[in-house]
């Protein structure tokens, strides 16, 4: 048998009884060893997708398979080698962290105690106090540990870094990289591109229940617009920039010209600018957050 994809969906759709089309015709493959960022604003359908993958809710059309097992007909098998961190984690408040992790390990029937202890140490988890006394960040760390502690083949993480401090976020990224290097798969949802760009190989962008783009993080960055501010010694005619492919002149005042330009046009922009005497040249580094917004806008325009 050929090895199956880690996650595969075909025409996966969910329309809630109130008529909301939360997910429309999703076709997606996430391969083994891949870190896949699943991006979209709140309410775009990210959590709906994830809950369909875990068989917590049922599709109105289409199908999904995790680890090669259909989520509906082989639900338990499809979830066996999966670690899940919910977007809104609710633990048993009366238990201590240790009791909660022990209980979840028994519920799964398998856990790697040594691995769990390492994770607890890396994230500096508080184990001996009741969960109701823990901050959101400290609860989230327990959530991260329970998702990883049985060494799952597929990790499904819904907005995982909420509440984690920067130090823990870096540790978390490190754990994700190690997981992928190990040939295992991470499916990471987020509303912030910044959160996944350091770890994800590919990114899928979802909006209003539709997947509007899947691309590598690298090429997303290439498509991103640079914001350029050029200060000339004497005012120049901005029309010479306007003619360049993909370049837009945002504003001109006295000697200052503000442009937006894709990576591909940078060479031409510099050469045109170099015909004049320069005082300053500032190009802001690619901001993925803005491509993200750009994609949303494009999508809006097409409707």
């Amino acid at each position: 048998m050929a090895e199956s994809s880690a996650i595969e969906t075909q025409g996966l759709s969910k329309t809630y009884p109130n008529g909301v089309r939360a997910l429309v015709d999703l076709d997606l493959r996430v391969e083994r060893g891949e870190v896949f960022g699943y991006l979209g604003p709140n309410g775009a359908g990210k959590s709906t997708t994830i809950r369909l993958l875990l068989d917590l809710i049922r599709p109105t059309a289409g199908r999904a398979a995790v680890n090669g097992f259909d989520t509906r007909s082989s639900g338990v098998d499809s979830r066996r080698r999966v670690g899940y961190l919910p977007g809104d984690l609710r633990l048993n408040d009366r238990l201590t962290g240790r009791e909660q992790l022990d209980s979840l390990a028994r519920l799964r029937g398998s856990a790697d105690a040594a691995l769990r202890d390492r994770l607890v140490q890396r994230f500096d988890c508080i184990l001996d106090r009741p969960i109701r006394e823990l901050s959101k960040g400290n609860r989230q760390k327990l959530g991260v540990v329970q998702a990883f502690m049985h060494r799952p083949d597929v990790l499904i993480l819904d907005e995982p870094t909420g509440g984690l401090d920067p130090l823990n976020q870096e540790e978390f990224r490190q754990v994700i990289r190690e997981t992928a290097a190990d040939g295992r798969t991470v499916f990471l949802s987020s509303h912030s591109l910044d959160e996944v760009q350091h770890t994800a190989d590919r990114v899928g962008i979802i909006r209003s229940g539709r997947l509007i783009d899947v691309d590598s993080v690298g090429s997303l960055r290439e498509r991103s617009l640079r914001h350029i501010e050029i200060t000339f010694a004497v005012p120049v005619d901005p029309a010479s920039f306007d003619g360049l492919d993909g370049v837009r002149v945002q504003s001109t005042e006295d000697g200052v010209v503000r442009l937006s330009a894709p990576e591909a046009a940078m060479d031409a922009v510099v050469k045109v600018a170099a015909r004049h005497q320069l005082v300053d040249f500032v190009a802001e580094p690619a901001d993925l957050e803005e491509i993200f917004l750009e994609l949303y806008r494009e999508d809006d325009g097409s409707r």
């Binding site: 809950r51 609710r90 048993n92 209980s103 979840l104 519920l107 029937g109």
Partner: protein, 266 residues
């Protein structure tokens, strides 16, 4: 089976509440039993009761002579108070463990684990059954201990039957609450449906002999199947079987219904 952890967890999370309920019911039974010596053999008391309105007598089981130990305990405990406590205890438990957990968003992580939903519900049902069993065993032991102290003279065989009937009554309403919670994620409904059923059962059982139009409905009354005077007259074996089967049907329905819908998530 992984769901065994659910059973274990369910029981351990509830230890303190269970101890509280058991101490409470034992104290209440002791209080009632302690009254008995002061009315034992008081013939005027039986006469007084005979003058009560028929509906009242029928509803509250003032049938035989309440100045005997079995008649007294039937009227004061097994007619209403103990079934009420057992049912409230079981409905509360059935509502918390499923609808309550779902509303609190705690079922999401649970069922994202490789746990079959019906196994999860079965484990919760079993935990409920065990708790109700512990509760009625405490009732049994309390009466057993108090019997010689206050001279209740309870027949042991009938007391056993009465306690089994009490337990089945609790389990039926508790599992009914699970079934409602499995069908629809609402705590309010999971309480209301079995509570209304219990009230209906009590009233029909108490009044069907006086109001003939209620008579055909007696078969739908859980109280009627168990009987009103389990110590003076004994419980009906067929009644225990019917209530037991109905309970199993309710739990089976819960297991089927939980598989058929979207889980409510926070």
């Amino acid at each position: 089976m992984e769901a065994a952890e659910l059973l274990n967890r369910g029981l351990r999370d509830r230890t303190r509440a269970l101890i509280g309920w058991c101490l409470g019911v034992a104290a209440y039974i002791a209080l009632i039993a302690a009254i008995f010596p002061s009315i034992e053999g008081e013939a005027n008391f039986d006469e007084l009761v005979q003058d009560y309105p028929e509906a009242l007598k029928s509803l509250f089981g003032f049938s035989g002579n309440i100045t005997s130990g079995p008649g007294f305990i039937d009227t004061e405990l097994f007619n209403l108070m103990l079934p009420l406590l057992a049912i409230v205890f079981a409905i509360n438990l059935g509502t918390r463990t499923l609808a309550g957990e779902e509303e609190a968003g705690r079922l999401e992580l649970l069922f994202a684990y490789p746990v079959r939903r019906r196994d999860g519900v079965a484990a919760k049902g079993l935990a409920l059954g065990i708790e109700v069993a512990i509760f009625v065993v405490v009732v049994f032991l309390a009466l057993l201990v108090l019997d010689p102290i206050f001279g209740l003279d309870l027949p042991l065989g009938r007391l056993s039957g009465a306690v089994v009937g009490l337990g089945l009554l609790g389990v039926l309403h508790g599992w009914l609450s699970l079934a409602v919670g499995a069908a629809h994620p609402s705590r309010a409904l999971a309480i209301a449906v079995p509570a209304v059923f219990a009230a209906f059962s009590f009233l029909v059982n108490g009044l069907h002999e006086l109001a003939s139009w209620l008579d055909p409905f007696r078969f739908l009354s859980s109280f009627w199947w168990i009987g009103q005077s389990p110590l003076a007259e004994g419980v009906r074996g067929i009644g225990l079987v019917v209530v037991g089967l109905a309970s199993v049907v309710a739990l089976g329905a819960a297991a089927v219904l939980i598989e058929r819908r979207d889980l409510e998530v926070p």
